[in-house]
Every structure is written in structure tokens, then in C-alpha cells.
């Protein structure tokens, strides 16, 4: 009887482990494809265009738009610029611009305030799905067309409350960062993994795709340290601890540029010239180190300006009752010392900062 129980127990454990392993592998495979916040399949932004008849209707409609972002950053500036330029070309007037500073109450205040100008269209990033559902209520009630960047308010339905969601090819960004680190490390060695420890769809998908790619494609690269990050100012401390425990780290993946700057500072302070860094989103200090052939191997960037253009065009199509797919993505690009000038322009639609250009010359 006792033996039977033991056999049953071992069987249950084996079954549970098998199930867990299976689901883990499935999760890994899923992490390699960008999906919408509700699992929507992606369509390339490049395929979304106004027909000439739609363009005429948009121009004749005398529409207006509000641009309501979650924060201020290089990325948001570029998205905003792309959206504003594209709206202007189509004859849509921008009547309000806001920044919620990652504050859910301010997010609602911005929407309510912008509604005083009765915009026909709002382009925005609802940074907290649950809170954003209440924040965008007044816009939905006024039948304002909504195009979201990277996220969607809870229980909002495509085609009913919003026109579409636009985002980066998030999984591709993680994959490209992994491939780039593999190239820099000769596809072998110990890897540190600094991920965003918060429930945020954008960073979570990018981080998971990096990890899944390393695990699935590079058997000789071993992730020896995983460290979650919530405060971007803590990059340096995390890297110091990681290096103290794993002195042979060949490379570190950092979830985005600001903490990566801290990781770079830690490596420099330790006199470490061999550990490579890959990260996401362009940053001037990281780019300077990269072109100096320092620790930074590559920066994977999104086409932020193109994202703004894509949101504007999708919104315009929605205004004239055209059909837009539910989830649009703009491509990712790997920026290295060899393509930094084109990469900077393509991502942020700005010329390369003088300090980086000087290093190149």
C-alpha cells in the first residue's frame, strides 16, 4: 500500500514536471512572435495606407487630434513628431498634447481636458490598462476615434471603442538583441540578464523574447544571472552585484537604455573591457561607448518616428470609416557602430548627435 502511494506520488511529480516543462517550452516559442495585448496577430505598418479617395475625405473633414502620451522621452518625442507631421500632411489639426508622467490620475485628467477641444481623434499610450479604461471613458462617450500605442484599456473592443493598436515588433527587438550579443560573444559564454520586473506588456515581451532566443538558438551561451529591475536608476548597483558573483560574464542584456547606462558605468568603474552589453532604445552615452569599441556591442532600436506616422494614418483611415487591422507593428533595427548614422535617423528622425559624429570622424 505504502509502495503504491510512493509510486503514485513519484508519478504525479513526473507528470507535473513534464507538464511544466511542456508549458515552459510552449511559452518560449510564443515569446518569439509579437502578439497584441490581447493576443492579436500582427500586421506590418507598411501595409496601412490611405487611398486617394480616403485622403480627400480626410482633408475635407476638417478633423482635429489630441496626442496624449504616458511620459516624455526621446522615444515619445520621436513618436509625437512622426504623428504630428503625418497629421499635418493629411490636414488634421493637432489641438492638444499631453504627458501623463506615468500618473493614472493625470492620464484621466489629460483625456478629460483634451475633450474640451472636442478632438475627432486621440492618439495615445494608455499605460495602465485597468486605469485607462476609466480614463478614456469620456472620449468613448463622445465617439472620438482612438488609436493606441503599445497597450489597450481593459475591456475595450477593436472596432468598437478603438481603431487599432500600434507598436514595435517587440519580439523582434528581443531576438535581435540576442543575436547581436551572440555575435559579440562568439555564441558562447556566460550571460547576465537584467529584465524589467513589472507587469508591462512592452518590456515584458522584449525581455522574454531575448531569453527565449538565447535558450533556443545558442546552446553554448548560459544565462547565469537573472536580475529584475524596477528602478531604472539602479542599473549600476545591479551590475556590480552581478559581476561580483559572476566575474566571467561575457555579456549582459539590459532591458532598456537608462539602466544600461548604469551597467556601463559599473563595468567602467571595475576596469572591465571585455563584458559586452546589449540593450534596447537609443542613448547617447551608450552610443559613444559603442563607436569607441567599448563594452556596448549594439543597441536595438524601434522606428519611433514611423510608429507615430503609422498611428496617424491608421487614425485618419478610422475617421473616414475605413478598415484598419487590429494590431500594427513597425520594424526593429539593430544599431551598431557601422550603421549608427542611418539607424539614428531611421529611429528618431534626427541627425546623429555631434558628440557621436565626432567619435566616428
Amino acid at each position: 500500500m505504502k509502495n503504491r502511494k510512493q509510486i503514485a506520488g513519484v508519478g504525479a511529480i513526473v507528470l507535473a514536471l513534464t507538464t511544466l516543462t511542456g508549458s515552459f517550452q510552449a511559452a518560449n516559442a510564443n515569446a518569439l512572435v509579437t502578439k497584441g495585448p490581447n493576443g492579436e496577430a500582427a500586421t506590418a505598418c507598411a501595409t496601412v495606407k490611405l487611398t486617394s479617395a480616403q485622403a480627400k475625405s480626410v482633408k475635407a473633414g476638417k478633423f482635429s487630434a489630441a496626442l496624449l502620451w504616458h511620459t516624455s522621452s526621446d522615444f515619445v518625442t520621436a513618436v509625437n513628431a512622426g504623428a504630428a507631421a503625418s497629421l499635418k500632411r493629411m490636414g488634421i489639426k493637432v489641438v492638444a498634447t499631453g504627458d501623463a508622467q506615468f500618473d493614472t490620475a493625470k492620464q484621466k485628467a489629460n483625456v478629460d481636458t483634451a475633450m474640451a477641444k472636442k478632438p475627432s481623434l486621440i492618439l495615445g499610450l494608455p499605460f495602465d490598462g485597468v486605469a485607462a479604461a476609466a480614463a478614456y471613458k469620456s472620449a468613448v462617450a463622445a465617439k472620438t476615434k482612438l488609436v493606441f500605442l503599445s497597450n489597450v484599456p481593459d475591456k475595450f473592443a477593436y472596432g468598437k471603442e478603438y481603431v487599432t493598436i500600434v507598436t514595435d515588433d517587440l519580439a523582434q527587438m528581443g531576438i535581435k538583441a540576442a543575436d547581436s550579443l551572440a555575435t559579440a560573444m562568439g555564441a558562447k559564454g556566460e550571460v547576465g540578464y537584467v529584465f524589467h520586473d513589472a507587469a508591462y506588456y512592452v518590456t515584458n515581451q522584449r525581455d522574454q523574447a531575448f531569453k527565449a532566443r538565447i535558450l533556443s538558438k545558442y546552446p553554448n551561451m548560459k544565462i547565469v544571472s537573472e536580475q529584475g529591475l524596477t528602478d531604472p536608476a539602479k542599473g549600476q548597483e545591479i551590475a556590480q552585484a552581478m559581476l561580483a558573483k559572476n566575474p566571467n560574464l561575457g555579456g549582459v542584456y539590459v532591458t532598456w537604455a537608462q539602466p544600461a547606462e548604469g551597467v556601463l558605468a559599473a563595468l567602467k568603474a571595475a576596469g572591465n573591457k571585455t563584458t559586452k552589453i546589449v540593450t534596447l532604445d537609443l542613448s547617447e552615452p551608450l552610443a559613444v561607448d559603442m563607436v569607441r569599441n567599448g563594452n556596448v556591442a549594439s543597441i536595438t532600436a524601434d522606428a519611433a518616428y514611423a510608429l507615430g506616422e503609422c498611428m496617424a494614418v491608421a487614425g485618419a483611415i478610422g475617421l473616414v470609416k475605413g478598415k484598419v487591422p487590429p494590431f500594427l507593428i513597425a520594424p526593429a533595427l539593430t544599431v551598431t557602430a557601422s550603421n549608427i548614422e542611418e539607424g539614428w535617423k531611421l529611429s528618431l528622425n534626427r541627425p546623429l548627435p555631434a558628440i557621436i559624429k565626432k567619435e566616428l570622424d
Binding site: 508622467q101 506615468f102 500618473d103 490620475a105 478629460d112
Partner: protein, 311 residues
């Protein structure tokens, strides 16, 4: 600048900004009932919290943990509601937990004798950490219609409940500060604790009470946010601490104790709300909005603190 202008600067500033926006933004939807109501609704939580903060500052203390406590309160109520607790009990539980935060702050200030600036700053980390850990960083949904209607999201006889809350609490705050013994004790303790002690006022008890009130106030704001935004998150209210202190101080409450003004902090809160609203409607870029808000705040602080002789 005349004494009258200096002492009433916040009201002149509010009137000037209001008239300016009404003229300049007349075609931009500023001077509409719905927009002006929006400004009041958006300013209400700041004004309510500023009222509680007025007591803390008047007693020569400060509470930097109020933003974190707001977030904690939203989570306590959301978790309780999701666990099936009645909305009134959930709200009371959130107020109890928030008041407890105030009590712990008060304990360290009055018994351990630590400066409130450091105590509340340190405790902010503890509260935020607990809130993050409890929810695993998730934002929780607050779906109870009765709760949302009563706290911040509903209307009563056509008047938004947020405005009713603010009016009622500010009137109570005004009466308590200006016309009760407790209000007089708070001001006396803030003005000169040694002298207050010699007059028989229990200084530690007064300080403990204002810290508990502050926790309770933050808890109440948490309920109002959770009701209005129909959600709860550890990050909710985290950006409010400095806004609340700024609104209180430009409204005539001294950072160094002994002087508080409830009408002034109301004007300060509405001024900050008006600026945010008007600059957005004026089509200012986000960067320009931040610069103008900073400059107006600096001007208001310079004049209002000079009028009280705070150096």
C-alpha cells in the same frame, strides 16, 4: 508690493490666471461648464489632501509618505472588494490601514523622536514595498458600482461626488483649524512647541494626531482615486506628495509651523489644476507646460513665503 497683495497673493494669482485663460482660450473650450467642472474635479483630491497636510505643516511636521499611503489604500480597498467584502467595510478597512500608517509615523516622530521628514521618507519605501509585494505590481480593477458611485466616480443631485467630498471636508477642516481648541493647539505647537508645552498643551499627542489624520486623509484620497479611476495600483498617488505640499504652501500655510490657511490651500490647489488644464488647452508642448508651471510655482512660493516672513 503692498501688504494686502502679498498676503492675498494666491487669490490674485488664481483670479489673474482664470481671467487670462478665459480671454485667451475662449475659443478652446476653457470657459465651458464641463471643462471648469473638470478642473474642480481634478483639483479636489489635491485640495482634500492639502487640508490634512495643512494640519501637519502647521504643527511643524511633514508627511512625505502620503503618496505611498494613497496607493496602499487603493490596493486595500480593491483586494477587499475582490475578496467579496462589502464596499463600506472595504472602505473602512482601507481607512484603518492608512490611519495605522499615520500612527506608525507618529510613533517614530513622538516616541522615538525622529524628524518627520526622515521617518516618513523612510516609511514610504516600506509602504511601497509592501504594496508592490502584495499585488505583484499588478493594477487591480475596482468594479463595485456602489463604491465607485459613492467615492469620486458618481454624482449626487447632478453634482459630482468628488466636489461634494471636497466641499464637506474643507469646511470641516476650516472649522477645526480656526474654531476649535484642537486647531489652536496645532498652531500653538507649530509656532513654538516649548511655549505650547508650558501652557499645558500635550505636544506629542497633538503631533501624533496630525500624523494619524494625514494617514487617514491619504487613505480617503486612495478611496476617491479608486472610485474615480475604477482601479488600484501601488503607483497611484505617488506623484501627489510634492503637488500637495506645494498647493498647501502657496496657499499660505507655513512650512515651518504655526500658520495654516484652508481657503488658501483650496486656491493653491485650483491654481495648479487650472494651469495644467489651460496650458494643455492652449496647445503648449509638454516641455513648455512643465517650464511655465515651474515658473508660476516659483513666483507663488516666493511671494507667499515672503508674506509670512519665512526665510
Amino acid at each position: 508690493m503692498t501688504k494686502v497683495l502679498k498676503e492675498n497673493f494666491i487669490y490674485f494669482a488664481l483670479l489673474t490666471v482664470f481671467v487670462l485663460f478665459s480671454i485667451l482660450l475662449r475659443n478652446d473650450g476653457f470657459f465651458t461648464t464641463s471643462n471648469l467642472l473638470n478642473v474642480l474635479i481634478q483639483s479636489a483630491p489635491i485640495a482634500i489632501m492639502a487640508m490634512f497636510t495643512c494640519f501637519v505643516l502647521s504643527a511643524r511636521e511633514i508627511d512625505l509618505s502620503l503618496g505611498a499611503t494613497i496607493g496602499l489604500s487603493t490596493l486595500v480597498v480593491a483586494i477587499s472588494l475582490q475578496a467579496g467584502l462589502h464596499w463600506i467595510l472595504s472602505a473602512l478597512l482601507a481607512l484603518l490601514v492608512s490611519s495605522l500608517v499615520g500612527f506608525i509615523n507618529g510613533f517614530f516622530v513622538t516616541v522615538v523622536k525622529l524628524p518627520s521628514f526622515l521617518t516618513t521618507l523612510a516609511f514610504t519605501g516600506v509602504i511601497t514595498g509592501v504594496a508592490r509585494w502584495t499585488t505583484d505590481l499588478r493594477t487591480l480593477s475596482v468594479g463595485d458600482r456602489s463604491f465607485a458611485g459613492f467615492f469620486g466616480g458618481g454624482k449626487f443631485y447632478g453634482i459630482p461626488s468628488m466636489i461634494i467630498w471636497a466641499t464637506a471636508l474643507l469646511v470641516i477642516g476650516y472649522v477645526v483649524l480656526q474654531h476649535t481648541k484642537f486647531g489652536a493647539w496645532v498652531l500653538a505647537v507649530g509656532d513654538n512647541p516649548t511655549s505650547a508645552q508650558s501652557q499645558g498643551i500635550k505636544v506629542a499627542r497633538v503631533k501624533m494626531l496630525v500624523m494619524v489624520f494625514s494617514g487617514f486623509g491619504a487613505g480617503l484620497i486612495g478611496l476617491l482615486y479608486a472610485g474615480r479611476l475604477e482601479s488600484a495600483s501601488y503607483i497611484m498617488g505617488s506623484g501627489d506628495t510634492l503637488t500637495v505640499i506645494a498647493a498647501t504652501v502657496i496657499g499660505g500655510t507655513s512650512l515651518f509651523g504655526g500658520k495654516g490657511s484652508i481657503p488658501g490651500l483650496l486656491a493653491g490647489s485650483v491654481l495648479l489644476g487650472l494651469l495644467t488644464n489651460g496650458l494643455l488647452l492652449a496647445g503648449f508642448s509638454v516641455t513648455q507646460q512643465i517650464i511655465v508651471q515651474g515658473l508660476v510655482l516659483l513666483l507663488a512660493l516666493s511671494v507667499s513665503s515672503k508674506s509670512k516672513g519665512d526665510n
